[in-house]
């Protein structure tokens, strides 16, 4: 340790292997998408390397903390780092929310001929603006010969009458509840109530899995019964990209919380005054929840 207060770690092999794993993953993905047979192999080899490095990395960070190497100042660095990481995720979602807003508020009306721009009646005769977009410009102009087709049905608000049989509603209930339980878990660990912590965190993880299960159900329903796919014009595009990225983040968050739960149950990690590993995961979870609330209104209720 370097004399003073701040722990500057020794040399480490983690970063270069993490870079290599990351590179192999994306290089494999690109090859895969371009139809090279080596693609999937490279992709999975890279993904495994990357996961293994991250596993090691976190173990080392945890053992350093247990060994008392982390000063309060260093811990603050982790807190700041996590906060700004979440902000970067906010901006990633902002790009997709922004795209949806632009499409609905500007692009579609213009495509339908509104505004003082070019009259699109020449390009897409008969196209009318609607949301959810069931009839794409291609369908309006080319009828049966259209390549870009809209969905057969959409995921819209069923009215208050149908609320309780509406899956997105239950998804919202599940996620909001999980935000509360993870908060209780946090209070429990601060009060040194290990049992309560394990229960509440366990319930949160369970709710995460339930959400993912329901989301998968919804996708199956959309693909098989509604004719709503990723390729269903801009409605399908925005619907699946927004909910899909959210779902991917829920998956990440659930894994993070599950690891925290296992650490607590199996190893007795986390102390009333030292539990940032868990707290970071819980921040992430709250963030994922907030995104969902946005999605619930923008994609479902007013979708």
């Amino acid at each position: 340790m370097s004399g003073g207060t701040y722990y500057v770690p020794e040399q480490s092999k983690l970063p270069i292997f993490a870079s290599f794993g990351l590179f192999l993953t994306v290089f494999g993905a690109a090859n895969w998408m371009n139809g090279n047979s080596s693609g999937p192999w490279l992709f999975f080899a890279g993904g495994l390397t990357f996961a293994a490095v991250l596993w090691n990395w976190f173990s080392i960070v945890i053992s350093e903390n247990m060994a008392g190497l982390n000063s309060p100042q260093l811990k603050r660095s982790y807190v700041i780092g996590m906060g700004w990481f979440i902000f970067s995720e906010v901006m990633f979602f902002a790009a997709f929310f922004g795209a949806l807003f632009y499409i609905r508020a500007l692009a579609l009306p213009w495509l339908a001929g509104e505004g003082d721009g070019v009259d699109n009646a020449l390009l897409w005769p008969g196209f009318a603006n609607e949301w959810p977009l069931m009839t794409t410009p291609d369908m309006a102009a080319n009828g049966e010969n259209a390549i870009q087709k809209g969905p057969e049905a959409a995921m819209s608000w069923p009215g208050f009458g149908g609320l309780f049989s509406w899956l997105p509603f239950w998804n919202t209930v599940v996620l909001l509840t999980s935000s509360v339980t993870v908060h209780f878990a946090h209070t429990a660990i601060k009060n040194n109530n290990r049992k309560q912590f394990n229960i509440m965190l366990g319930v949160t993880v369970l709710l995460g899995f339930i959400f993912l299960f329901l989301q998968a159900e919804e996708y199956i329903h959309a693909y098989h019964e509604l004719g709503l796919t990723l390729q269903s014009g801009i409605y399908g595009t925005t619907f699946f990209m927004l909910t899909g990225f959210h779902g991917a983040h829920v998956t990440m968050g659930t894994i993070m919380l599950l690891v925290m739960w296992l650490r607590s149950v199996l190893k007795g990690h986390f102390k009333p005054d030292d539990n940032f590993g868990f707290e970071a995961a819980s921040w992430y979870w709250h963030f994922v929840d907030v995104v969902w609330v946005g999605l619930f209104f923008v994609v479902y209720v007013f979708g």
Binding site: G3, G4, Q11, S12, F23, G81, F92, A95, A99, T136
Partner: protein, 516 residues
């Protein structure tokens, strides 16, 4: 902890030391600068005369694309991160960056990302050929297959930038020496703090837009396809929401460097420190609301044209404050003109020219004439070459003696400056004229009437390129040997970095200094 660096190659592969990582960033950037420079010289060689002489049009397009991408993401950004790594801990009295392992991860992603990007040159269908702004549908429906590799390269270099920026914010917020309040921080630290914020805010948006492309290309979505209800113009909005803050990411740290150098050689404290801080923040804020000035000709509603025109012009106000302060710092100073100062003065003058052409472009009705002509090329090269590149060069000359303990060769430094200064003006000034006369950008062949200006530009470009070889030689010669530098290096320079020995020991400020 062992007190010297480790031996052999593993020193660099496994390091957690901010100085090692800073050096690697700087060398990587230098290498990319030459690679991007070679691409530029291919372009200028082809444009030396009208007609097609040297390369195929498609290859020409690959050159303009790769030149822009390599220079922006490979040369300028990593150079500033390298300077941040070296200087921020030393300027705030910290032992290292806040998260040293993540720091090395941020760096090592880059060689992989650029190896992947460069490998596209050898792929079937060639490298990306749709311009560094990769507008859809050129970059989606009509793109070569290598676009997928380009997309993933952008993804991972974006991850690298975000991690680098998080590290810089954590360092500045958390690791300042006792007594160094925010309003006592050197301006280089301030400008980097704000730049890091911009990076975290917009790199994810860039990731978003390339993800949309990827989905359109491989998974049948219709973000940028009007047939499915999408819109190619959506691409431009998302891209420029990233793109305009990005140009400030490439200039704010430059402001910081110049604000460090000018006071040293004018032997006066910086004029208007507080206003410099506020101006930087104002520029950063405004940079989020001007993006559509790149899109005046795509068919925005009139209200949009007006809003983005006026918002863009507003940026000239804080920018003007900065230029005023630099000039006022020099006013009645006891000036000497060592190489870093020469580059900094050229920065102030030539960056201002770039700002003025920017103002001309900001006038929406006038931009209909200038857009996509060489006038735009002249504008952004005036802000980027004597702006970003000159400030980096100035910073390297200014701090190199502190890094390696030796003085660089002043005569050669001055020669480098004058060759670069003349070369760049000969290259880019005529582009204003060819642009105003209507020469479109990104074409391998052109009308006879533009022949003279193009020939001059090409001559200037090769001169500028040659000057940089001199720079490389000077830097290497300084690292190997040369006159020993004193600890202060310059006469009474401001800042904690000058209180440590030259060369700076491997670990500095292991116990934080008291800053008054």
């Amino acid at each position: 902890m062992a007190h010297g660096p480790a031996k052999g190659i593993t020193r660099w592969l496994y390091t957690t030391n901010h100085k090692d990582i800073g050096s690697m960033y700087l060398w990587f950037s230098f290498a990319m600068f030459f690679l991007g420079g070679i691409f530029a010289l291919v372009i200028r060689a082809e444009l030396f005369q009208p007609g097609l002489q040297i390369v195929e049009p498609n290859f020409f397009n690959q050159m303009t694309t790769m030149h822009g991408l390599v220079m922006v993401f490979g040369a300028v950004m990593p150079a500033f991160v390298g300077l941040a790594n070296w200087m921020i801990p030393m300027q705030i009295g910290a032992p290292d960056m806040a998260l040293p392992r993540m720091n090395n991860w941020s760096f090592w992603i880059l060689p992989f990302a650029f190896a992947m990007l460069s490998s596209t040159l050898f792929m079937d269908g060639g490298a990306p050929n749709f311009g560094w702004t990769f507008y859809a549908p050129l970059s989606t429906t009509y793109a070569p297959p290598s676009v997928t590799f380009f997309i993933f390269a952008i993804h991972i270099m974006g991850a690298s930038s975000i991690m680098g920026a998080i590290n810089i914010i954590a360092t500045i917020v958390n690791m300042r020496a006792p007594g160094m309040t925010y309003m006592k921080m050197p301006l280089f630290v301030w400008t980097w703090l704000i730049t890091a914020f911009l990076l975290i805010a917009v790199m994810p948006v860039l990731a978003g837009v390339v993800t949309m492309m990827l989905m359109d290309i491989h998974f049948g979505t219709s973000f940028f396809d009007a047939a499915g209800g999408g819109d190619p113009v959506l691409f431009q909005h998302v891209f420029w929401f990233f793109g305009h803050p990005e140009v400030y990411i490439m200039i704010l740290p430059a402001f910081g460097i110049v604000s460090a150098i000018i006071p040293t050689f004018a032997r006066k404290p910086l004029f208007g420190y507080a206003s410099m801080v506020y101006a930087t923040a104002a520029i950063a804020f405004l940079s989020f609301v001007v993006w559509a000035h790149h899109m005046f000709t795509v068919g925005l509603p009139i209200a949009g044209e007006l809003f983005f025109m006026w918002a863009t012009m507003l940026i000239a106000v804080p920018t003007g404050v900065k230029v005023f302060n630099w000039v006022a710092t020099m006013f009645k100073g006891a000036m000497t003109f060592e190489t870093p100062m020469l580059f900094s003065i050229a920065f102030v003058i030539l960056f201002t020219i770039g700002g003025f052409s920017g103002l001309m472009l900001a006038i929406a009705p006038a931009d209909f004439q200038y857009h996509d002509t060489y006038f735009v090329v002249a504008h952004f090269h005036y802000v980027l070459v004597p702006g970003a590149i000159f400030s980096i060069t100035a910073g390297v000359y200014y701090w190199l003696p502190k890094w390696c303990g030796n003085m660089y060769n002043e005569t050669m430094g001055k020669l480098h400056f004058w060759l670069a200064f003349i070369g760049l003006n000969v290259t880019f000034f005529p582009m204003h004229f060819s642009g105003l006369a209507g020469m479109p950008r990104r074409i391998p062949d052109y009308n006879m009437m533009f022949a003279d200006w193009n020939m001059i530009s090409s001559v200037g470009a090769f001169l500028f390129g040659a000057a940089q070889v001199l720079f490389l030689y000077n830097v290497i010669a300084t690292i190997i040997g040369g006159k020993k530098a004193t600890d202060e290096v310059w006469e009474n320079p401001e800042g904690l970095e000058w209180t440590v020995p030259s060369p700076a020991p491997y670990h500095t400020f292991e116990t934080p200094p008291e800053y008054k």
